[in-house]
Amino acid sequence: MMEQKSSEKNSRAEKKSSVIIRNLSVTYRTEPALWNIDLDLPDGKMIAIVGPNGAGKSTLIKAVMGLVPITAGKVSVFGKSYSKNRNKVAYVPQRGSVDWDFPTDALDVVEMGLYGKLGWFHRPNSKTRDLALECLDKVGLSDYAERQIGELSGGQQQRVFVARALAQNAQIYLMDEPLNGVDAITEKTILSILENLRKEGKTIVMVHHDLQTVDKYFDWVVMVNRNLIATGPIKEVFTKTNLDRTYQEKQRMSIQ
């Protein structure tokens, strides 16, 4: 017990955190979605956010980007508010959050990752097109650049979203369940891309629902169920006790 505590202390001390969350609470109408979260997300880690449905996992990463109204608390990204450092953060929303019947092709969606840097009144050009094509190539979809997005498989659509985040060329990647319901090829492709990003020192924060793969894919975990239950290196924190506390009695079956 002593040993564990001191090692946790050490890892805390040597790790720099660029995303710092203090006393964060988010309420939808009168329902609290997140309650009093204190959290540092260490740089250069593969971080999983786990918790049951409705635990506020998506809300947590949305709150970092100011996409949901914050009731109380503060989030800082690289020492400043998100709006000042948004070009250092890339975002992969849930695949189901958009209408894939939208009349556009894969390349065009990836190009949207560059709109933020283009700013107002500037149009996408051959340069952004080449960059987008490069990112599409990284996820193995360069042959599908001009394919209507509705004609792509679910896994391919997810890879398009990852390519769009790559186009943002950020330091921190916030991803909302990018491995949810995807095929094996997609899972492998996305993981190898993320591994490369991590080697470059980037931080990956991923909402993840498959508890079986947490210790295989990630090196840091955030366990949340409205409150922050536990956070730290997988080996120390991803324990049965903590899982039970996160998922409580009724959900335990799915863990085993």
Binding site: K62, R86, Y91, F102, D105, M112, G116, R123, E151, R164
Partner: protein, 318 residues
């Protein structure tokens, strides 16, 4: 007989001074609402467009009541203010109460329309014959358009297109993935408000030609028809504008063959015919070609396995 009349109406565009402006005004409406309607449809806000159009009616009544003129610019300003107001009320209802959007739209639409009808009948009773003509905004009467009206409509339409061209990228990203757009720093609220504003302008243009009741079909039908032919947003907007413009010209020509026929319904029937043709005959998504494809090759389970093997590389169309 009928063909002859339509043909002479077609010639009339070049010879008949009045018909030229009628057709031009209807075309301007069709082009504008066709282009902007793409966003209404893609955002699944078709009924929102309907509520905006109905909410415009009392604006016309109030503008006439207070200004006492039938000056088209003033009437349009009143209409625009009320359409906007209707939109804001709908948003306010959904965001502050438990009432869902469909119910909120129903409330706005019917209450504003009811108020508009009450106002117009009131004006009819006190104003007598001098009020005549305000009810043309119900179903549109393009035949009443004169040169100055058409110039006003043209200026408004140019404004809409200027906004659409300048903010195309922003409109696209907020329509496709608004939370991602917000994460990039685009002020979604303001972009949405701007888009709603230009749609209000399109609605106001439409008051003269199709009227408040049928306006929504000028937003939906050209866009839905265009979507059948293309999977590219830019092409969809252009095609939708062409469909809208064509239906405006054809519709106003047909209605000019019969004395007193409202333009609005005829234009709406025309655009619906274009939509019907698109649904049936467009090569990729049309019913006919889908039927023929299924006939030619009814897939066996084995075929399906083969296609998944190739990762659907040759199968774009389903």
């Amino acid at each position: 007989m009928v063909l002859e009349e339509i043909f002479s109406a077609f010639l009339g565009i070049f010879t008949d001074y009045t018909l030229r402006y009628v057709a031009l005004g209807s075309a301007i409406l069709g082009i504008t609402s066709g282009a902007l309607g793409c966003f209404t449809v893609l955002r699944k806000q078709s009924l929102f467009g309907d509520a905006l159009a109905h909410a415009a009616l009392p604006g016309i009544g109030f503008a006439y009541l207070f200004a006492g003129t039938k000056d088209s610019l003033l009437l349009m300003l009143g209409a625009a203010i009320f359409a906007w107001f209707g939109g804001i009320i709908t948003l306010a209802i959904t965001s502050t109460t438990r009432i869902k959007q469909d119910a909120a739209l129903g409330i706005t639409l019917s209450v504003f329309f009811g108020l508009g009808i009450v106002l117009l009948t009131y004006l009819q009773n006190i104003g007598g014959a001098s009020q005549g003509g305000l009810d043309r905004f119900l179903f549109g009467q393009a035949a009443a358009l004169i040169e100055s009206d058409v110039i006003n409509l043209g200026i408004l339409a140019s404004f809409c297109f200027a906004v659409l061209i300048v903010f195309y990228k922003e409109f696209k990203i907020t329509t496709f993935d608004s939370s991602f757009g917000k994460s990039l720093g685009f002020p979604i609220k303001y972009i949405n408000a701007l888009l709603t504003s230009v749609i209000v302008v399109a609605v106001v243009i439409g008051l003269h030609t199709v009227g408040v009741v049928l306006m929504v079909s000028m937003l939906i039908a050209p866009a839905a028809a265009a979507r059948q032919w293309t999977s590219n947003l830019k092409n969809m907007i252009i095609l939708s504008a062409i469909f809208g413009g064509l239906s405006g010209i054809i519709g106003s020509m047909i209605s000019s063959t019969t004395e007193g026929m409202s333009t609005g319904p005829v234009i709406v029937i025309t655009i619906t015919a274009i939509l019907g043709i698109s649904l049936l005959f467009s090569p990729k998504q049309g019913y006919l070609f889908r039927y023929l494809r299924n006939q030619r090759k009814s897939p066996s389970p084995l075929d399906e396995i083969k296609t998944t093997d190739k990762e659907r590389s040759n199968h774009g169309n389903f």
